[in-house]
């Protein structure tokens, strides 16, 4: 037991994975000598040698394609792509090869590899350093998409990802890297991959959130409780495969639902979740399912990001719109009608 940051938990997960299985390799840009720009691979090169933790030339498609070959050859590569928006050069390798290899070989070639991507905003990064890119990956069959929100989950979800027979895109919320918990990582308390988890039980409404939005949702739930609204917070943890069961059970219980995501709203993961919830829970719903998302603008620079990021207030506003007074929410109706 001790105070651990998410960055340290991820580092421990990699260290333990490297210790346990000789087939695990980790590489990327600046992960060797430097230990990664976020220090997630700190000390691993010294401990495991340059054969198992190493820097590659600066080419993202190159390092993902290289990892595909290593995985075909029996290794378990864990690749670090330095920032969300710098992962895009690897998009073709990820969508056309990483995601499809098992299928196009009729199950004969599997790619047990992990692509780690620090993602999301809130750290004052300049342009191209704060994208929420989860929808691109979640839309691609063949990939699993995982994103932790707690220190303990960061450790166990990454350990699970390394052991997974399928490729996992592991999205690390940058602004939570320095979040701390008293955690005993050696003892597994976390739920397995593919299951969502209820962070805070409640009776009146369900807040669905993942990654960097989970602490925002929890804070909003605490605030709402002061107004007498008992909000349940579900941390999705794994976007693909999606845990319809936990989500559906929660919304059927509460009858009201808000989905929170940092990414731009249009055609985002939240849109898919809203569709799934209304398809499965329509007769339990007392109000339309509401989204709180980023605006449909390129992620803004540090001077503006506070206005972009879904805030506790914005989530509370959304909860207010859940027709607790049995009045329809008219904000989305045409101006003439309102």
């Amino acid at each position: 037991m001790g105070t651990v940051t998410m960055a340290q938990a991820l580092n421990s997960a990699l260290r333990d994975a490297l210790s346990e299985d000789d087939r695990v390799l980790t590489f990327g840009e600046d992960v060797g000598r430097l230990g990664g720009v976020f220090r997630i691979t700190d000390g691993l090169r010294d401990e495991f040698g340059e054969q198992r933790c190493f820097d590659t030339p600066l080419a993202e498609s190159g390092l993902v394609g290289f990892a595909v070959g290593l995985a075909m050859g029996g290794f378990r590569p864990v690749v670090e792509l330095q920032f969300d928006a710098f992962a895009y050069p690897a998009f073709e390798q990820i969508t056309s090869h990483v995601a499809k290899m098992r299928n196009r070989t009729r199950g004969r070639v599997s790619l047990p590899m992990v692509i780690r991507v620090p993602y999301g905003g809130g750290i004052g990064g300049v342009e191209h350093h704060s994208d929420s890119s989860e929808a691109y990956y979640a839309h691609t069959p063949g990939l699993k998409v995982v994103t932790p929100a707690t220190v303990e989950d960061a450790y166990w979800l990454l350990r699970d990802a390394v052991c997974d027979p399928d490729p996992v895109v592991f999205l690390e919320p940058k602004k939570l890297y320095w979040s701390k918990e008293d955690a005993d990582l050696a003892r597994r308390g976390a739920a397995p991959t593919a299951r969502a988890v209820i962070r805070r039980p409640g009776l009146d409404a369900t807040l669905l959130a993942y990654g960097p939005s989970v602490p925002v949702a929890i804070d909003a739930a605490v605030e709402a409780a002061r107004d007498g609204i008992d909000v349940e917070v579900v941390d999705l943890r794994t976007l693909v495969p999606f845990d319809d069961e936990t989500v559906t059970a929660s919304v059927r219980r509460t009858g009201r639902c808000v989905v929170v995501q940092e990414a731009q709203g249009f055609a985002g993961v939240g849109a898919e979740i809203v569709a799934r919830v209304q398809e499965r829970c329509f007769h339990s719903l007392a109000a339309p399912v509401v989204r709180v998302a980023g605006f449909d603008v390129p992620y803004p620079p540090p001077k503006l990001e506070h206005a972009y990021l879904p805030s506790v207030d914005r989530v509370l506003d959304a909860i207010e719109r859940l027709q607790f007074d049995d009045q329809p929410d008219v904000r989305h109706l045409a101006p003439e009608a309102s």
């Binding site: 030339p57 090869h97 098992r102 196009r104 070639v109």
Partner: protein, 374 residues
């Protein structure tokens, strides 16, 4: 030099002048089937191997013709022919041993057949099915790669994997002239050189990327020069001279296997047919050019050369031809047996274990299919 490469490379990296390709393509045999003038500096393959190469080229040619015919009959969805490129297709495989890997493109079906994979299986993707048809792990042949140059990086990773496991395997990776403009081509050369991996890149420069001629694809003096900037030893060769292609690839494979890092070979050849059966090459090249290249056909060239050396008898030629006809007959029969695919299987290999959502979709389609059958 990175420590990673240092652990594997035997001896120093090639000096700058050792990287450069020959000023003109390496050639052993002229278009007329006679000995070329200039000495090449490469060891000629044995007559026995050349005889085997001839046999496999005859099979490759017949396979290609049969596949084109099956496409016209509507039995294949599409077929990208390699007619005219048989010297590259066969030499690229003959240079390998059992433990080596081949990373082909969609145009390299003849090479995969030459590697020993069942021709019916090789055409699975082109028949319009959803998977590559053969077992890459058992055959050591990666799936035919449709996106351009992406497979080169997989080849580099595989070469690194073989070396890490202490195997002495080499990886042969094919790419076309158009593919050398893709970023992944450059990233693969760079990764291979930095990590010193045992991989041989074979560019089959067939002069056109669908319709775009080489002169509009690159301003490089030859594609082989593209290796030099990455520190990769490079060579250019007459791609219709089997003797030369095999001689150079033998050296390239030896170089890689003995721990001297990657090797890039550009083989200058010509695609006698269109890009695929759906193409109309008359829109971008003239008949005269095709006639000129047809006169440089690699197959009669090798035959003339071997006969003149007493390394190929009439009987050998007849045997190869009969074997080719048998291959074509087997291919026709195998394709004839090809039934409809099980549509429900499309859900089964997306993940190791289908997700709950895929199981639900599978059940839904199953109900739909049963409804149609009823």
């Amino acid at each position: 030099m990175s420590i990673t490469a240092d652990a594997y490379l035997k001896g120093p990296r090639p000096a700058p002048d050792e990287l450069l390709p020959s000023a003109v393509p390496v050639r052993f045999v002229t278009e007329a089937g006679t000995a070329a003038d200039a000495p090449s500096g490469y060891a000629a393959p044995s007559d026995e191997r050349l005889g085997e190469a001839y046999r496999r080229m005859v099979l490759a040619r017949r396979f290609d013709q049969q596949a084109s015919a099956l496409t016209r009959q509507g039995r294949l969805a599409v077929y990208p022919s390699s007619r005219g490129q048989e010297a590259c297709q066969v030499a690229g495989v003959l240079a390998l041993r059992q433990q080596d890997w081949l990373f082909p493109t969609y145009r390299d079906t003849a090479a995969v057949v030459a590697r020993g994979v069942d021709p019916v299986d090789v055409l699975t993707l082109l028949r319009g099915d959803w998977h590559c048809g053969y077992d890459p792990m058992a055959t050591r042949v990666a799936p035919l790669c449709t996106p351009l140059a992406t497979q080169l990086l997989h080849a580099v990773g595989m070469a690194d994997a073989l070396r890490r496991k202490g195997e002495d395997g080499v990886v042969m990776a094919f790419v076309g002239d158009g593919g050398t403009s893709e970023g992944d081509f450059h990233e693969a050369l760079n990764f291979a050189a930095v990590f010193g991996t045992p991989v041989v890149f074979l560019i089959q420069n067939n002069q056109y990327a669908i319709s775009v001629p080489l002169a509009e694809q690159t301003a490089a003096p030859a594609l082989a020069y593209k290796g030099v900037g990455y520190g990769v030893r490079s060579e250019q060769v007459d791609g219709n001279d089997l003797v030369a292609v095999l001689a150079v690839l033998d050296e390239a494979v030896k170089h890689a296997r003995s721990g001297h890092g990657p090797f890039l070979v550009e083989a200058q050849t010509y695609r006698l047919d269109g890009h695929t059966n759906a193409d109309d090459p008359g829109r971008y090249r003239d008949e005269e050019e095709v006639r000129r290249w047809a006169a440089a056909d690699p197959l009669p060239r090798l035959q003339t050369w071997l006969r003149a050396h007493g390394a190929l008898t009439e009987q050998d030629i007849d045997v190869a031809q009969a074997e080719a006809e048998a291959l074509a007959a087997d291919l026709r029969a195998g394709i004839e047996l090809d039934g409809p695919s099980n549509v429900l299987e499309m859900f089964d290999h997306v993940y190791a274990d289908p997700t709950p959502q895929l199981k639900e979709q599978r059940r839904s389609l199953e109900t739909e299919v049963k409804g149609m059958e009823a």
